[in-house]
């Protein structure tokens, strides 16, 4: 158990926090500095020490409050505080010692703010891993140093690559139980790198850690003199995420039409939405899809009034100089750089329902702000996540299966490949009878 590193806060005579103390002033400076948000997904089973690692990150970055810590200390069995108890939120999870669903955690360091999606590792909960990883900038896959790379590690790495999470970190945990062996670590690193090469993982980092003792999590360990890389937290704080966004292809799916219809704003008509990619500026020549009609951006209204330009992920309202018929589901782009308008979708689909996906099935597709009906035309293959083998004889996709599917939709969608544009390259599948979300799709080039 690491010593309590939480700094004592000076209290004044009545027991109130002294906000003018140097400690408080420093804390305020750190807390209110302008920071980026980095979204992380963690995957691994309880046995890999995932909850302990998260507890460690939260505790060492002082995101754990005294009353939470005391509650965990009371509930801990044995002679050290079980940090894993900090993250298991549901009664059934605490009773069964498992993680059932994605839980979100928040912690801040002087450099960054982190939103951490803690996802369960069990095979049957793959859909939750996909949920957690879908918005992530970085995924941490936990591996038990004693077991090395197991089926689940492959699955997690594969899902992260499928969702194009730009940065993958493998935390090789429980290094204390293998005598801090460089040989063990290098072996896992080689095996993982070979697998990752097949997945087109753009950025892979491996860190030898002990979540229980804190080695290489926040501070460098004296037990691994052979390891010259960053600590896990240092890597999280410095990994370059800004360039992961697409600032090239201007795409603005219209979400909502703002029409005040008041005397003061009699003629106001604005198209509200979130910039998917690219940059829009006042005066830009744009094209509205599906009509294909040209228009000029007359103004951009942000949350605090007019702005000169808008970029992802800003939520703004575009005003056009031209009187066009534009509604939800339309897409505003640039004349020289348009997405593909198509009724045929070729995609890798992660299926999340008990009832399998089969050819000829009818289903709803939600893509950006447009929802259409679709028919499953073809299942090209089902992917074996462990071997990456493509089973072309497969006739259906079962729960947690991933396969390549062709869909025909009732109206054109304005799409890009997921590898180029994570926003216009993705969709969800919704069962029209149960209304459940049953699949996630990532568009891939045909062929």
């Amino acid at each position: 158990m690491a010593p309590d590193t939480n700094t004592a806060v000076p209290l004044d005579a009545d027991g109130a926090v002294d906000v003018h103390s140097p400690v408080a002033e420093h804390a305020v400076e750190l807390a209110t500095a302008r920071k980026d948000i980095v979204r992380i997904a963690t995957a691994g089973s309880v046995d890999d020490g995932k909850s302990t690692l998260i507890g460690r990150l939260l505790y060492d970055s002082k995101a754990i409050f005294e009353d939470q810590y005391e509650a965990v200390a009371r509930a801990s069995k044995g002679d050290h505080v079980d940090l894993a108890l900090l993250t298991d939120g549901l009664r059934a999870e605490r009773e069964q010692g498992i993680t059932i669903d994605v839980a979100y955690r928040y912690f801040t360091t002087p450099r960054r703010t982190f939103i951490l999606a803690d996802t369960p590792g069990h095979v049957q909960y793959t859909r939750n891993m996909v949920t957690g990883a879908s918005t992530a900038d970085l995924a941490i896959v936990l591996v038990d140093a004693r077991k090395g790379m197991v089926e689940q590690s492959r699955r997690h790495a594969f899902l992260a690559s499928l969702l194009r999470v730009p940065h993958l970190v493998v935390a090789v945990n429980k290094m204390d139980l293998v005598g801090w062996s460089q040989e063990v670590f290098d072996g896992i690193a080689d095996e993982f790198s070979a697998f990752a090469a097949k997945l087109s993982v753009p950025d892979l980092t491996l860190v030898p850690i002990s979540a229980l003792h804190g080695d290489n999590v926040v501070t460098h360990s004296t037990n691994t003199p052979w390891y010259e890389g960053p600590t896990l937290l240092h890597h999280l704080e410095h990994v370059h995420v800004a360039s992961d966004r697409n600032l090239t292809d201007a795409r603005f799916p219209v979400q909502y039409v703002v029409r005040p219809q008041t005397e003061e704003h009699h003629d106001y008509r604005g198209y509200a939405g979130t910039v998917a990619s690219g940059v829009f500026r006042v005066g830009d020549e744009v094209t509205v899809l599906p009509s294909g009609l040209p228009a000029t951006v007359a103004g951009i209204d942000g949350p605090r009034g007019p702005v000169a330009e808008a970029f992802p992920p800003m939520a703004v309202t575009l005003r056009l100089a031209d009187d066009l018929d534009v509604s939800r589901g339309d897409l505003i782009g640039k004349p020289e750089n348009a997405p593909t308008a198509t009724q045929d979708l070729d995609a890798l689909v992660c299926w999340m329902a008990e009832e399998p996906l089969r050819p000829r099935q009818r289903i709803a597709v939600k893509h950006t702000t447009r929802t259409v009906r679709a028919m499953v035309k073809e299942l090209a293959y089902r992917l074996d996540v462990n071997t990456l083998h493509r089973d072309r004889d497969a006739t259906e996709l079962g729960l947690n299966d991933i396969g390549r599917v062709r869909l025909r939709v009732t109206q054109p969608l304005f799409v890009d490949d997921y590898t180029r544009n994570r926003v216009t390259g993705r969709f969800i599948l919704v069962d029209e009878a149960s209304n459940a979300t049953v699949g996630a799709g990532m568009l891939t080039p045909a062929g």
Partner: protein, 302 residues
């Protein structure tokens, strides 16, 4: 706002995400309503809704489940804010529901559980299909498991083991008759984010949130201001202390904290260094058990 490197700050990112969620609900669900209590989180949520549709008005009403145990300051603030924005306010009253026999006062005097049937009754009466709540995932470990769009069956129940997968920002708001979606636009905000946003946007808040000398009693280690709902019990010695409220719930259950913070900036300074969660420090109602929030949510609470 615009920066040469095309990056948004943490608050701007959270703001954009919340506005996206609010617009998506207005576009896809037929009868949304925003739960507004006059507390700081719902104040921020209402401000984000205003920004989402400006210069048009917010295209849905707001609702308050009034337990009859509210701080008068907060009710006054609620009415003033609603009038400024020109939105319709619906009040679902727990005392009225008790009078017509829908719910009964619990022996401990807490109306935390009985407000849930009152909420569900109002939802049914008005046919609301989406309810915006100001809950944040950092508040509680059961709330940490919530989706942004949280599906509820016709009884308003949350089924944490069987939640809809939520991919990217593609929210699924499809429901059958009688079902509804609870929507949490502030899911990813922390207490500190809320306060920083209040400071940055100069959003008005009820005076309770700032420190003032008040007459208090100490109860189970917490300080309760003496008011219509908190009377000193035998053996309790009221005394004067400078306190503020970190959360604003029912006046009979919400404790204050010692504080010298008379401005929002000073509140931020205190929160930046505090070592207690806001609910742990101020809510008698969450102390029942480790799973108190989970149990209430399953019954249809926010």
């Amino acid at each position: 706002m615009s920066t040469p490197d095309y990056r948004l700050s943490q608050l701007e990112t959270l703001e954009a995400e919340s506005i996206h969620v609010i617009r998506e609900v207005a576009a896809e669900l037929e009868r949304p309503v925003l739960l507004f209590s006059g507390g700081k989180d719902s104040i921020v949520m209402l401000e984000l809704a205003r920004k989402a549709f400006a210069p048009a008005r917010i295209p849905f009403p707001v609702m308050h489940v009034d337990t009859g145990l509210n701080f008068p300051d907060v009710l006054e603030f609620r009415d003033k804010r609603v009038a400024e924005l020109g939105v319709q306010l619906i009040v679902a009253s727990v005392p009225d529901a008790m009078a017509r026999g829908l719910v009964k006062e619990e022996p401990n005097g807490s109306r935390n559980r009985i407000q849930t049937p009152v909420l569900l009754d109002a939802v049914e009466e008005h046919g609301f299909t989406a309810l915006f709540g100001g809950a944040r995932r950092d508040e509680d470990k059961a709330r940490a498991k919530e989706r942004v769009f949280s599906f509820r069956d016709e009884f308003g129940q949350w089924d944490p083991k069987n939640q809809r997968p939520e991919l990217w920002d593609l929210y699924n708001g499809r429901i059958h008759l009688g079902e509804s979606i609870r929507v949490f636009p502030l899911s990813n905000w922390t207490e500190l984010d809320i306060w920083q946003y209040i400071a940055r946007e100069q959003i008005a808040i009820p005076p309770l949130y700032l420190a003032q000398e008040r007459e208090v009693v100490e109860r189970q280690g917490m300080l309760y201001a003496v008011n219509d709902f908190i009377r000193p019990r035998d053996g309790e010695q009221p005394f004067r202390a400078t306190v503020r409220y970190r959360t604003v719930g029912d006046a009979n259950l919400t404790a204050a904290v010692r504080s010298e913070a008379t401005t929002v900036e000073e509140v931020i300074a205190e929160i930046a260094v505090t070592r207690m969660t806001e609910r742990g420090a101020t809510r008698g109602d969450d102390k029942v058990s480790d799973a108190a929030m989970e149990d209430r949510k399953k019954e249809g609470y926010f």
